[in-house]
């Protein structure tokens, strides 16, 4: 890897990351294939951590697969499944295995996932996890004990620009910056004005924000997002546009929509880049980026 994600964020005008979900099982061929399709198009690949509280191959192992396949990984770490010992020990493991970027998240509650009977851990929250990453970087653990060899992670966090109400979300956004977040990746945005309202209120100053782009493939998916995903708003006009597109052309139309959105964000200098979540259609990321030209 010539330039690290950390350096890219400092030097490149418009940064692109994409999300990949690890398999539910041990079959990693598709993951490797997706990485090979994406690696020349994106600056880093996020690997989700039991996303939506659905049990999958660990983010840590999948990050290693991503890096072996030639892309730089961003390890997503949630607070849902591990206490502070396990989190720290996995972070040290990640460093040893060559992972350099960590995205600290709270994590969806187990009750909405596929193991609703599991004990939700949440020993730390995302703000405290960012602090812990900072301490590991300084060569000590979260109770102050020295480490034999420190980490030097590049820590990031997430924010939901469309959160309602926005003020408590902004409170947490600011705490994450104080706790050491060096970049943000956002929840999906479909409406540029919604993002502008957030940016006006948040005043993120110099902190890089990569805006979340989700590939819409049907009006039903848009409705689902509107009804079920807090802080995500798909405007009626986009739902209509997809509804009036013949079924077999909807994925292509969704790619155009995502491309136009990225184009608008880049042209309007509204953010430092985008974070593409193609949810199960990761191989479409290059087409989305071509559509954004």
């Amino acid at each position: 890897m010539a330039t690290s994600f950390r350096q890219v964020l400092q030097t490149k005008q418009f940064v692109v990351t994409a999300e990949i979900g690890p398999p539910k099982g041990t079959e990693i061929a598709k993951l490797q294939d997706n990485v090979s399709k994406l690696r020349s198009w994106v600056d880093a690949i996020n690997v989700t951590d039991n996303q939506s509280a659905v049990m999958k191959l660990s983010s840590l192992a999948a990050c290693r697969v991503v890096q072996e396949a030639g892309a730089e990984a961003i390890l997503q770490v949630t607070c849902r499944d591990r206490n502070r010992l396990a989190l720290q020990s996995d972070l040290l493991a990640a460093w040893v295995l060559g992972i350099r970027n960590v995205l600290c998240l709270t994590g969806d509650h187990v009750r909405i996932g596929d193991h609703p009977q599991a004990k939700p851990v949440f020993d730390l929250d995302s703000v405290q996890l960012l602090q812990v990453v900072g301490w590991l970087n300084q060569g000590r653990d979260c109770v102050g004990h020295p480490l034999e060899g420190a980490t030097d992670f590049f820590p990031g966090a997430v924010v939901t620009p469309g959160a309602e109400p926005l003020a408590p979300q902004l409170l947490k956004f600011r705490k994450k910056i104080v706790a050491g977040a060096k970049f943000f990746q956002t929840q999906a945005i479909f409406d540029v004005d919604q993002l502008k309202r957030f940016l006006d209120a948040a005043q993120p100053d110099g902190i890089p924000i990569l805006v979340g782009i989700v590939l819409l493939v049907s009006p039903r998916m848009g409705q689902f997002l509107n009804e079920n995903i807090p802080g995500v708003y798909v405007p009626e006009s986009l739902l209509d546009r997809l509804a009036s597109t013949p079924k077999d052309k909807r994925v292509a139309e969704g790619i155009r929509i995502a491309g136009e959105l990225i184009h608008a964000l880049r042209d309007g200098h509204l953010c430092r880049g985008v974070h593409i979540m193609a949810i199960g259609r990761e191989e479409k990321v290059p087409e989305i980026l071509r559509a954004a030209e």
Binding site: C79, R80, R84, T106, G107, D108, H109, R111, I112, P120, F122, D123, L124, D125, S126, V127, Q128, Q131, C142, V158, V159, T160, A163, E164, P165, A167, P168, Q169, L171, K172, R174, K175, V178, A179, Q187, P230, G231
Partner: protein, 226 residues
């Protein structure tokens, strides 16, 4: 108070099916208030069990007694002379009461008649909600009198997660988002400074399981003298 709910009749019946003499013991404190294990509930359970026994042709006798409290040995005194004549005791107390009974009358099997739920308050008639996790490190003065450890589904200490939605929780759209409530309360109290503060993770060692608490020795001695 401690909030509990009665176990389903079938579950209690199955525990007792081989016993011919059973004493049902109610508790007159918390669980009486939440209508799960007081005198009235003891009477209802006894009638239900008698009816079931008659229906399936089992020879069973169910007697009733309700103590003012089951979590204090002093209040278990009335059972001392009674207990020996029963093959089993059903306790309609919280888990603490059931255990003290089992400890005090260790020769007789004690069965739980309730499922203990949480420490909470009465919201409106017939509705209770959890308010306290008994963490041993109260921070309510920092969070506007609303406990995020208990009332946030994830127990988050530094603000809402991304699942908050128009003041409701991602886990259950009927449940208020604790951090939206805290934000509103502290804003109203003009304590924005508290909102900016990063709270450290809980110290789980403060109330480590199994927890025990003793009054300071001097205080105990003073009590003994008085």
């Amino acid at each position: 108070m401690i909030v509990a709910r009665r176990k389903p009749l079938s579950e209690i019946e199955a525990m007792l099916q081989d016993l011919s003499r059973v004493l049902i013991v109610g508790c007159g404190t918390c669980v009486a208030v939440c209508q799960a294990g007081g005198e009235k509930e003891v009477e209802i359970l006894a009638r239900q069990l008698r009816m079931r026994a008659r229906l399936v042709g089992r020879q069973q006798r169910f007697d009733e007694i309700t103590l003012p409290r089951q979590c204090d040995p002093e209040f278990l005194e009335p059972l001392t002379s009674l207990a020996g004549s029963y093959q089993g005791i059903v306790s309609l107390a919280c888990g603490a009461g059931v255990q003290l009974l089992a400890e005090q009358f260790s020769a007789i099997p004690v069965f739980p008649g309730l499922d203990t739920l949480f420490l909470g308050v009465s919201e409106s008639p017939g509705i209770w909600s959890q308010r306290c996790r008994a963490c041993g490190q109260c921070i309510l003065h920092l969070t506007g009198g609303i406990c995020p450890k208990t009332r946030c589904a994830k127990g988050l200490l530094n603000g809402p997660c991304g699942g908050t939605h128009f003041g409701k929780c991602e886990v259950d759209r009927e449940t208020p988002c604790a951090w939206t409530l805290i934000y509103e309360r502290l804003t109203k109290l003009e304590r924005m400074d508290l909102l900016e503060r990063i709270l450290p993770p809980d110290d789980w060692n403060v109330v480590s399981q199994p927890a025990r608490h003793a009054l300071p020795r001097q205080f105990e001695e003073k009590l003994a003298r008085s």
